[in-house]
Subunit: 230 residues, 2 copies
DNA sequence: CCTACCGATCGGTAGG
DNA sequence: CCTACCGATCGGTAGG
């Protein structure tokens, strides 16, 4: 802090440059959710925010730096869209369910235009060892840990059978939600989310205790005729 | 068939050009499992098979044509790696379990160097409406239908409770296997597949009947300490 | 934050 | 199946 003058409102507000930077990063995250972090081109990004390529390079020294910053922005978006709302629910089973619903809704609402930023970018980098892959692995590890933590919380309150393995339960919940999200992107059928909800409710039901609040009603997904195999 | 001369062995064997074509396509599928169908460049592919770009274009008129052909090749690879072996198991619950194991093993063995071709390519195209996305949607539909069909078969033989929804069951099985596969690519921990197996066995167990053959023993996955959230 | 440029690589083609 | 090339676009830079 080499600021001689006293703080004014103007000093505390984000500078114009910082606002531009955030605009660029949010656009970058949106584009990367469709094209991937490599497929995102600086030229297209510049066009999307109405700037020149040179203008972008005054905010980021390299494409890689922009990619890393876009990941942080996407992380903040997920936090606001999924984790913050869930934290508003009462602790225990209700909060766990709110987290599931929030994560489902995040996919269904297409908070990012190309579906989940991390789903797309994760698939893009998962076969290439390196910093980006490790970063994504760590973020997904964190996601699983969040869900597992909520399971433990519900168990601690006696609202969920203590014998269930929280990590295993988190794995299964996230699995059905992400599978639904992928199928939804491919065929635009939101019914896949009904399957995810149904699977989660059925998995939790045998674990309920007399202390458990009631689970919301989850209708059985509509039957569907099978298609031909590959 | 505008062939005047009688068939000889030579006529029935694949021509040299056809063999080259297959070599190119298998290399293309391998590369696309890492880089995606767009990320795959004709120059890199030519280098991988030891040909010039011009040489490749004598087999395929355009990149798009090559992409479509590579999808068919990848489909044949999955058929040989997953569906054919499962068909060798006795019908019913055993065959369903063999299909699960085959699908898990296909991911764990990395039949494609970048993990599942369709997982990677699906994520790449799922946000872009068009022929490729529709093709992938149809293929995944077929995968789900295969699993659902095996569930129905087991039910028909009385080896699985008839009240279970085959499509829902297929959805949940595929979900945990694919989630395990994605995590495996990110952190190289094959333990995720143990979680998938455990989830499938636990899901099937309440559906077993007195006619059911015994399920293989599936050990509970090792406990794992939670990491920090995002 | 812009214009104007760099070398490299992209998909694709001509001609053999 | 090759060499030699095309225009377009890539990430990135210089200079202002």
């Amino acid at each position: 802090m080499n600021q001689a003058t006293p703080n004014t409102l103007r000093d505390l507000l984000p500078s114009k440059g910082e606002l531009t930077r955030q605009t660029i990063l949010r656009a970058a995250a949106d584009l990367a959710s469709i094209e991937g972090l490599e497929g995102l081109s600086i030229g297209d990004l510049a066009k999307a925010v109405g700037m020149s390529k040179g203008g972008l390079y005054s905010h980021f020294g390299s494409k890689r730096e922009l990619q890393l910053a876009a990941i942080e922005t996407a992380r903040a978006v997920v936090r606001e869209a999924v984790f913050v709302p869930a934290a508003a629910a009462p602790p225990g089973l209700k909060r766990l369910w709110a987290l599931c619903e929030g994560y489902i809704s995040y996919h269904e609402r297409k908070v990012f235009p190309g579906g989940c930023f991390f789903g797309n970018v994760g698939a893009e980098v998962d076969a290439k060892a390196g910093t980006l892959r490790d970063k994504l692995a760590q973020l997904y590890n964190g996601l699983h840990a969040r869900f597992a933590g909520m399971v433990r919380e519900a168990q601690g309150l006696g609202e969920l059978d203590a014998s269930a393995d929280p990590v295993q339960l988190a794995f299964e919940i996230i699995a059905v939600i992400r599978e639904a999200a992928r199928l939804f992107l491919l065929d635009d059928d939101a019914g896949h989310f009904a399957r995810a909800r149904f699977a989660i409710a059925a998995r939790l039901r045998p674990l309920l205790t007399e202390k458990s609040p009631a689970l919301p009603d989850v209708p059985a997904p509509a039957a569907k005729e099978g298609a031909a195999g590959p």
